[in-house]
């Protein structure tokens, strides 16, 4: 008899590694505004 090879779809699980860092929108914008402010030349920082 001829061996029958049944092609079975793989069943072992798929694994996804996910690293998520939640940046808080307000915080990001304010930080950028402050950084620009600190770079200013008017010598108050």
């Amino acid at each position: 008899c001829t061996p029958t090879v049944a092609v079975k779809a793989p069943t072992e699980p798929i694994t996804v590694n996910l690293n998520v860092k939640i940046e808080h929108e307000i915080r990001v914008k304010v930080d950028r505004d402050l950084d620009n402010l600190f770079e200013g030349k008017d010598g108050i920082f």
Binding site: T11, T15, N17, V20, E25
Partner: protein, 320 residues
């Protein structure tokens, strides 16, 4: 005699016997009513916290020299307080503090209830009994509150006022992911499911630290939907991102478990494993997501408070 400062009228009666250089002063502060138009900060300047509603009455005895027998009785009814951009309303308490070898302590348990507290995320129906003992341990015993559709409880939350480290454990049950997504107004994100958390906390001079907190989703699990956040360009030549985007588009999980760390800087780190399935990835195979999620809590709370009119939210609470 009377000491008058704004609405604060303090009647006091002084007894001092020169011979033994012993004395006592009995004082009572008749009920003072605060309102948004006449807050505490109008009379007492420079406090980081303001009282904007409710009634306070206090009485006590101060005796010297050893101050043994000194006592302070404080009654708070329906107090509302504001601290930076957070507020608390419906604070009721009858507190008795006594002087014990130089320290103010609480005699028997002092029950305290707070209708709601909002620092960005609402905490409601807060109940605990307050202890302050000789080692300066401030203990909230039998703590219970409602949070995000579930409950938060602890036998004892301890904070030492003289910078000594203390351990407490906080339990959260039935925390709704749906409620969390709604309250944090997160765009692109929908979630269903309920979580139980066990949070061992260390309070100390630099703040709160959590090590090996535990998170688990209740059966039968839940759903995560994160959509429309990846632009076509991002997805164009990135198979891994495509897989993730598809996976998260409609992911049903039956298992979610992991642990959490929290440091005084406010960074919360969640290491979770989710087991479930996403039909858009593969109908017949399980999909395991190992998720490392980092989120700064103070920044999140600030953003939440910044994105709404806190004064209006406070008024709405007071009108109830």
């Amino acid at each position: 005699g009377n000491l008058v400062s704004g609405p604060l009228v303090i009647q006091h009666h002084l007894q001092h016997s020169l011979k033994q250089a012993k004395g006592r002063i009995l004082f009572s502060l008749p009920p003072v009513v605060f309102s948004p138009m006449q807050p505490l900060s109008q009379t007492v300047k420079g406090l980081p916290i303001d009282v904007v509603s409710g009634q306070v009455s206090a009485s006590g005895t101060l005796s010297w020299p050893q101050q043994q027998g000194s006592a302070l009785r404080l009654t708070l009814s329906d107090i509302a307080t504001v601290y930076a951009d957070s507020f608390a309303t419906g604070i009721d308490a009858k507190l008795l503090f006594e002087k014990d070898s130089g320290q103010w302590v609480t005699g028997e348990p002092q029950s305290l209830s707070i209708q709601s507290m909002d620092a960005g995320l609402p905490l409601e129906k807060i109940r605990f009994s307050l202890f302050l003992d000789r080692d300066m341990d401030l203990v909230l015993r039998d703590f219970a509150a409602e949070f995000l559709g579930g409950k938060v409880t602890s036998q004892a939350l301890t904070w030492n006022l003289s910078q000594v480290k203390r351990q407490s454990t906080l339990y959260a049950q039935d925390i709704s992911l749906e409620e969390l997504a709604r309250v944090t107004e997160s765009k692109h994100f929908e979630a269903k499911g309920r979580l139980n958390l066990t949070i061992p906390m260390i309070t100390g001079p630099d703040g709160i630290t959590v090590e090996k907190g535990h998170v688990r989703a209740l059966a039968p699990g839940g759903q995560l939907r994160y959509y429309g956040a990846f632009s076509p360009q991002m997805l164009a030549d990135n198979p891994q991102l495509n897989l993730i985007a598809n996976a998260l588009e409609d992911y049903l999980f039956h298992t979610l478990e992991g642990n959490m760390e929290y440091s005084p800087s406010g960074d919360l780190l969640l290491k979770l494993q989710l087991v479930g399935r996403s039909d858009s990835v593969d109908i017949d195979r399980d999909l395991i997501i190992n998720l490392n999620l980092e989120n700064n809590i103070p920044a999140m709370l600030h953003s939440l408070q910044a994105s709404r009119d806190v004064a209006e939210a406070l008024e709405k609470q007071l009108d109830q």
